[in-house]
Amino acid sequence: MKEGKGFGFLHYGILVSVVLGTIFGYNLFYGDRQLFLPGKTTHGHHQVEMQCSACHVESFESSEPMQQACMNCHGESLDKARDTHPKKKFTDPRNADLLANLDATKCATCHVEHSPEITGEFGVTMPEDFCFYCHQEIGQERESHQDYSFDSCSDAGCHNYHDNRALYEKFLAKHLDEPNLLDNAELRIPNAVDLWLKKNRDKPALQQQDSSSDAVPGATQGIVEDWAQSVHATAQVNCANCHDSNNWVTREGTNVNHNISIDSCVSCHERQVRSFRQGLHGMRLAVGMPPMRVKDARLPMLEDAQHRSLTCATCHDPHKPDLRQAATEACLGCHSDEHSLNYRNSAHARSWELEISGEAAAGTGVSCASCHMPRTKKGKAVFVEHNQSLTLEPNSKMLRPVCLNCHGLEFASAALADRDLINSNFSYSISSSHPSFALVRKRLLEKKARKQKRQQEKN
């Protein structure tokens, strides 16, 4: 009895502490760290939520290092978007009163993480009428805006907080009354291989007998044959260029280095790999984590794709690279949301089939990649942007780099404001009118009247 009495409150306390300490310690250092997540992360960050230091750089004492972490990942895309509310616009002390209401110099003012109960579209955790804080007099300044409520500013794609490149008045005025489908509807053609061939006319394509497959354990005749037919052989990329001693891990068993494609590809495809790491498919690699796994995705994915990890080779078979396959089949091999499943029955898909069958000109078809991986031009080079996030949300970001290549601005804006239409993968007709354009037409008439009045006064 005496011994039992000795194992009292203190002993139980120590035991419980040790057990809890072991559980938390194991979870922190060896486990998935889920016990330390204060709340569900947003869809934009959930892939990297276990890499706490990606955002919480040093400690929780100061917000500045975290702000810098935001900019490290998002700064470049905000610059590209010509951010209409950058930090530098608000640091002047004359804005002190405004900042006291809404500190626009910090991303975390509007994008609080781990707070699913207050998180709205685009990871915004402010009430929808937050524009009121600084623009409460817009109704007096613009009579046309009197009847709009402050929770409707971003409705229907009228305004964005950051990216207004396709939404400002003069841009809309320039694109008034365009047809739904432009006469010269056509996308740029990626031309990396053509440019390489122009520079390297004296270098004949490698043949099977030229392959350095002897240095690659496990290389099969089939793989070598595929490679010899590929654009890699055309561009003098031999087996050992990718399977060098640092990158190559034997394929015997399942011990394949997942990073082999990233580490090898980057030496020639620097821009593609860089933008891949900036997007949702590659963001885990950018913070030093293993590649994203399909089974961890929050979007609906096909059951038989759950085992996949996302590297370059997931969409591009390095021995048989096929950009057409990568542009649709690769996407639809995993994605099974409503929009993706409806692609095959869409007008865009029909145009793509015509292009790949050779019945229509190159650049006239619309694949998944045509919209989600826009083709951007820098100098003579046409490059495929591998960061889908650049044009994903808010979807008006897609207007300029994508939609306007083929469609009128008002039609495209109306389409992107219609969620049902997007889900159907643009499979039915819509009215091509958008409220912003009615306002612009009215403004132009007012401008004309003002000009006439001034002219009359001069005369």
């Binding site: 010509r82 530098k88 616009k89 640091t91 002047d92 002390p93 004359r94 804005n95 002190a96 009163d97 900042l99 006291a100 600084c134 007099e137 300044e141 490149r165 400002y168 003069k170 841009f171 403004r443 007012e446 401008k447 003002r450 000009k451 001034r454």
Partner: protein, 188 residues
């Protein structure tokens, strides 16, 4: 000769290294510093407005200046040039900031905001040849604040502001005070 010059250069280097750096303890008043900074801002802006924008847009008509200069392949407006410079200075966090404001701003966000700015705007409009100086506390920080006239130095300023749809005033003339530049220096 070459050897001699080399020796002299070496000697000069040693001499320079042996001279202690002179510590300057002279002080400059916030007002003098503000006036000097404004002189740079005003001169640069006048040069850009007259020699670049007015010349190329209004006289030679080879390129326009436009608010959306990136899309229009045009020149930034003089007001944007000043603002971009101000943002660059603010990013350096040196305790000096400046901004354009007006009683008739095209963008209403550029009206006088603080009490000192409002007083300053009233003063410089009523006294076109005098400058306004004051102190104010904003966000818990004390500042020396100066307000200077922003004058229509070229036809480009007048035409653009008179023609702009959102301009509350359409009868500006060359030499008019169109607004003010507010310049702040952080005080310890």
């Amino acid at each position: 000769m070459k050897k001699l010059s080399h020796k002299l250069a070496t000697l000069a280097t040693f001499a320079a290294a042996s001279i202690p750096v002179v510590q300057v303890h002279a002080e400059i008043s916030p007002q003098r510093m503000a006036d000097a900074i404004f002189a740079v801002i005003e001169s640069d802006r006048a040069v850009y407005t007259k020699k670049v924008v007015n010349r190329l847009q209004n006289e030679e008509e080879v390129i326009t200046a436009d608010e959306h200069w990136q899309d229009e392949q045009a020149l930034p407006l003089p007001a944007q040039m000043l603002r971009m410079g101000a943002e660059g200075v603010a990013e350096k966090d040196l305790g000096v900031t400046y901004a354009l404001m007006s009683t008739w701003p095209i963008n209403k966000q550029n009206e006088a905001v603080t009490e000192v700015e409002k007083k300053g705007m009233d003063f410089i409009m009523a006294n076109p040849s005098k400058r306004f100086y004051s102190e104010e506390t904003l966000g818990g920080q004390k500042y020396f604040t100066a307000v200077y006239q922003d004058i229509a130095v070229s036809e480009a300023c007048v035409t653009c502001h008179n023609d702009h749809q959102d301009s509350p005033k359409d009868d500006f003339k060359l030499g008019d005070v169109m607004g003010g530049v507010v310049l702040r220096i952080k005080l310890d």
